[in-house]
Symmetry: C2
Subunit: 155 residues, 2 copies
Amino acid sequence: MYKIGELAQLCEIKTDTLRFYEKHGLLAPSSRTDAGYRIYTENDAARLRFILRAKAVGFTLNEITELLSIELDKSNWACADVKGLVDSKLEQVVARIAELNAFRSSLQNLSNACCGGPESAEHCSILDALETEQGLEKPLIKGVNHHNAIVKAER
Amino acid sequence: MYKIGELAQLCEIKTDTLRFYEKHGLLAPSSRTDAGYRIYTENDAARLRFILRAKAVGFTLNEITELLSIELDKSNWACADVKGLVDSKLEQVVARIAELNAFRSSLQNLSNACCGGPESAEHCSILDALETEQGLEKPLIKGVNHHNAIVKAER
DNA sequence: ATAAACCTTGGAGTTAAATCTAGGGTCAAG
DNA sequence: CTTGACCCTAGATTTAACTCCAAGGTTTAT
Ligand SMILES: [Zn+2]
Ligand SMILES: [Zn+2]
Ligand SMILES: [Zn+2]
Ligand SMILES: [Zn+2]
């Protein structure tokens, strides 16, 4: 059982954010004290952690609401609905991972193309790579850059 | 050489967005016509594609600006600076990929826990999984759910 | 040579997701 | 029994990233 400030501190967010999530239907406390204080259960905390992870991973609050709405009236959902919804989010996540991997490999190529030494980067090939979008799909041309650092093709 | 509308169409964004990026220092056209029309080169287009990919992958415009600022005055950067900047972004991307993989595996477990059939999901274990954050770090308990679908642990 | 389809600037409006402010209750410690 | 740390609501403000609008100049195609 947490009061709003305790849960907020636990999850490193502001109490305002919790009230905001409540107003927007993402997470309501399981109960209130007589004085009207919000009381969150461990279950509520778990739900919050789910929300925060989904958010960290790039989903909007609306998308998260969609995922969580399953619970609103469970009895009106068939397993097919539930699984469909989860699987469609799953597809989005997989696609995003692919994008990220492509970008990661771009950056990796940029990094590989640079020796990281103390000389001026004025004509460092990393910049050409950025400018010409070389190495964003394909690896940079294997070779030697302006200061003899070996450029290694990767992936 | 593209006029603003052509480049916008090519990259499936609005002309307004291109003017917005220019105002915020992310991408200026290489030249203008006598009448003041913006003229973008193929190089500008490549830079724009880089911006759009970085954005798609979750970087803010400020972060992208930081990455692109390298070009502003190349001569004041050492290779060490350049590589450091790129490598730090690289780290962020790798971390984000890890988060996404964890979330993907959560969703996968949720999906595995559900048969996807036409019965009511009223007491489908997928919901418990969501509520209790089961399966978000560890796989669900290997076993059989309410309608005998086999839950396969995965990772 | 005129209408449609572009382009220009400057500034206002929108949306998501908080974050803050004002004006008050509540509660444990001293 | 008061002080300081919490909590409440309702509503205003902020920030990022567009998106739209008005008033006008330019190009192109008939
Ligand atoms: Zn270098
Ligand atoms: Zn170097
Ligand atoms: Zn099910
Ligand atoms: Zn089922």
